[in-house]
Symmetry: none
């Protein structure tokens, strides 16, 4: 069966940069472009040459890509020729194989925002597209506010599209600029456009997520005949973002309704890189990845409900619409107060703890997890603390050492240069093999900044554990999260700590107390004990 | 024109609790239920009585609501009568006016996951619904895996729905349990169900966001004739979440395609509370609100692109699909431009600070806010800290006192009864009217529990401020939130503190540091200074 070619156009580097708080450097743009290219996108829109220094610099050292590198700009202004418009010239001079120019198609915007006549606007579209075609570039016309324009004056909106097409535009992209058009309207209007003005294989769709329908709007346009989709990684973009390619790509490749009909530039092997690329982008932006993102989120295949979790054990397809591995993601079955005994046995087995069916310790573990969750603990993410709890109930936790007492202080005062500075200091007293050991640490980092009391406690606890010390020397605290929650009737503090070791393991532990220092210490202690369980071969 | 009634069913407290990392306390459930009720939801699903202690406790003190309070459970198990099924009994005993029970409709799941015959499953559905109806409850039947089931064996899936309907179910809810069904399929299957088995005004839709189409799937079902939508606030829910009512409600009320045809229990006045309710939920969960959320996100009406921002000044409708005020949200334009300064002047004026147009302090305030937000501060909620900052730049903040130094310690050790106990102690040294004052406090509460170092610091700071002391005596710390965030290139701690006084005022302040104690102290200090600005009449 022959499948239609469906083209994917990425605008992460241009429209994605309109996200509040996002500002790529040129080096970051180059890194993202390489990832997009490896994934197999057809077009990469690199930015607007001339609009800002970063975009201009990017086009000066524009990377070679298999994808068609595209510069973005706008139609020439009225009252001057395409040849003499400096904004258009900057875009053309970027030397990319394709150029996408935005222009007006909504009568109201032409007369009100641009302040030119409807005919002058048609002339701008025609002349700008023809100019780019004459320069040998592949021209794309981005029809701004098209859907609102079509509703206001369909004849004029279609005339704008025809002007671009006849002047040589390879693609006419229907843009729902303010994001307000619903999927059923997009589908209907795309059908009408194809019937009256632009063939589907010259038609693209560009949606925004203002009603949380950007993905659905793109799919509706494809179902109606459009053959190019514009979007961004992780749905970056102005306001609520653009259509997320991270959601669209797996749907197009994995759902038979699309996969049977369309071919894209992305193959199933590249698709397995999608989760990694999504996380890489968040990493570049220093954003916490959204756990609930479709397909690639850390929670996308997390099964918390007891009913679901036990069914998953029998057959993953019961509660998973795709195999998580297809997009490079993985299944998570977290502990929670709704998990049953079979789920629990499987979890324990994964930790190397085989427990017979019906072992009374199973019920004790579930009861204790339940009681602790009522106190404010959460084991969904703190798997290592869960393991410590389970080992205690199973009698499989060696008492490596005992904490006798600890003390931590923070002092803030003026230093000799008359600047206010802080210093945190912690003392931890443990008993190891019958010997009492006192350790003291402070929390200064390499730059001379105080990292606070938890940092000091962590150092003191891990400073001298006698014969166990060598095992924990490669541990370090990599993340620390605090949440005020309800424990019984009082507000308590829940601290979750992520630790890492030299073998690349990462594990999370939790502590709860009205006192944030005590909650932190509890989580630190679990982290050390988990590491000793793993690596101590006494 | 008569409009159809469209019912909205909220499952934030049940399915929303399946979100990884979410664990509501009973008190939080009660608070959320009150907000949902005020908004005007038709049904509030409170949880699964008997499934866990929190849900059971919630139904023991279940709040009176205008909305129909609903308990969730499952159909009776095969081989016992509805009367003798303890799980069903726990749900029925919760005494709610409505009960929603989940049951299988997918042949494969019946035989494989339940391990019972197809006829036994039909009997379970029939008997369970009839039992609830006989008890005088409004029964809802949640058809698990319906869309997959319908694709696998349409006749059997429809038989399940008919069994529930004939046994007295008020609503049959089609559930896309694994979230894999696309909107066009949902629309088509809903049409077929209405034609063959269940009238639209008895039909509900329950979607999940695994392909980022949960909202679109719900709308497709309504367009096909379903008249109940189930969803959650902020799209909470297992894996990628449920259909977001926060996105659906404004679309249903503000978009003519729906608003002209349907009436819901929510009016335009209540809709203006939507943003506040969305933020309140994140606040309860101590989650960072997603800026890009449709309608209610902090970026939903943020205009960053230069072209857009200037057009917005001419006419907001050019780049906004709705008026942000309709959902209680607001427009954000870049701080640097003219609109930034006029917004700022209005904000200051609301605080009683009249500033002349063009005052150079305005630009300084904007610059400092920007720089501090880069460092990790957030003034969205911490209005009192914003006022302190503005007063400093305007030269309108008296220096009531100076903090010379402070010290806080936490010590944990065994008491005389051999129990581990903690004690926090703080010393704060201030200079008031040229006189140095040393204050020391510990943080024991009435029950003898240690409340931690911030509590001790707060007491010591507010213990002796000389002639100012009387003014701050009625202050108390009522909430304390901690978030790890990014400041420059390092992770820092942001602490937000809510304070209250005897006059019923409540104000929030913020502090940021790598050291949690320093961040807390900064917020405490702002809180005291704000109170003195308000009430000191020296």
């Amino acid at each position: 069966m022959t499948r239609d070619r469906l083209y994917l156009y990425d605008t992460t580097l241009r429209d994605g940069q309109q996200t509040q708080g996002v500002q790529f450097s040129t080096a970051e743009k180059i890194r993202i472009a390489a990832a997009l290219d490896a994934l197999g996108l057809d077009y990469i829109e690199g930015g607007w040459p001339g609009a800002n220094p970063t975009d201009s610099a990017f086009f000066e050292e524009v990377p070679r890509t298999r994808a068609t590198m595209t510069a973005f700009g706008m139609t020439k202004r009225a009252g001057r020729s395409a040849e003499n418009d400096d904004v258009l010239a900057a875009v053309a001079n970027a030397g990319t194989p394709a150029v996408c120019i935005v222009g007006k198609t909504h009568d109201y915007h032409v007369t009100r925002a641009l302040g030119v006549s409807l005919e002058e606007n048609l002339e701008s579209i025609r002349a700008s597209v023809a100019h780019l075609a004459a320069l040998g570039r592949e021209p794309l016309f981005d029809a701004e506010h098209f859907f609102d324009g079509y509703k206001s004056d369909p004849a004029y909106a279609l005339d704008c599209l025809r002007a671009a097409l006849e002047a040589g535009a390879r693609w006419i992209v229907l843009c729902d600029t303010n994001g307000g058009t619903l999927p059923h309207e997009i589908g209907q209007i795309v059908q009408e456009v194809i019937a009256q003005a632009v063939p589907g294989d010259h038609l693209g769709i560009h949606t925004h997520n203002d009603t949380e329908n950007a993905v659905a709007g793109s799919l509706a346009a494809v179902d109606a005949g459009a053959r190019q989709i514009q979007g961004t990684l992780n749905g970056l973009g102005e306001r609520c973002g653009n259509a997320s390619l991270t959601s669209l790509i797996p749907t197009l490749l994995l759902k038979p309704h699309y996969a049977d009909r369309f071919e894209t530039g992305i193959d199933r092997a590249a698709l397995q890189d999608l989760t990694r690329i999504s996380r890489m982008l968040d990493d570049i932006l220093n954003r916490v990845p959204v756990r609930q993102m479709a397909y690639v989120g850390a929670s996308a295949f997390a099964h918390k409900a007891g009913l679901h979790a036990s069914a998953i054990l029998k057959d993953p397809s019961t509660y998973e619409h795709i195999d998580p591995g297809a997009v490079g993601n993985r299944r998570v079955v977290p502990m929670s107060n709704q998990a049953g005994q079979s789920n629990l046995r499987r979890r324990l087995s994964e930790m190397g703890l085989e427990v017979e069916k019906g072992d009374p310790a199973l019920a004790r573990i579930l009861d204790r997890v339940k009681a602790r969750e009522t106190d404010g603990y959460s084991y969904d993410t703190a798997q290592a603390s869960f393991e410590i709890l389970a080992r205690e109930e199973l009698g499989r936790l060696p008492e490596f050492f005992e904490v006798k007492r600890y003390r931590v202080s923070v002092e803030r005062r003026k230093n000799k240069y008359n600047r206010m500075v802080s210093l945190s200091e912690a003392v931890v007293v443990v008993k190891v093999d019958g010997v009492k050991k006192l350790s003291v640490s402070e929390s200064m980092d390499a730059e001379g900044n105080d990292r606070g009391p938890v940092n000091a406690l962590s150092k003191a606890l891990a400073k001298d554990l006698g014969r166990y010390q060598a095992v924990i020397d490669d541990m370090r605290l990599v993340d620390f999260k605090v949440r005020i929650t309800q424990g019984g009737t009082e507000a308590v503090t829940r601290v979750t700590i992520d630790s890492e070791d030299g073998q690349g393991r990462r594990w999370a532990t939790v502590g709860v107390s009205a006192n944030i220092v005590d909650a932190s210490f509890e989580a630190l202690l679990d982290a050390v004990r988990w590491k000793l369980v793993r690596d101590w071969e006494g």
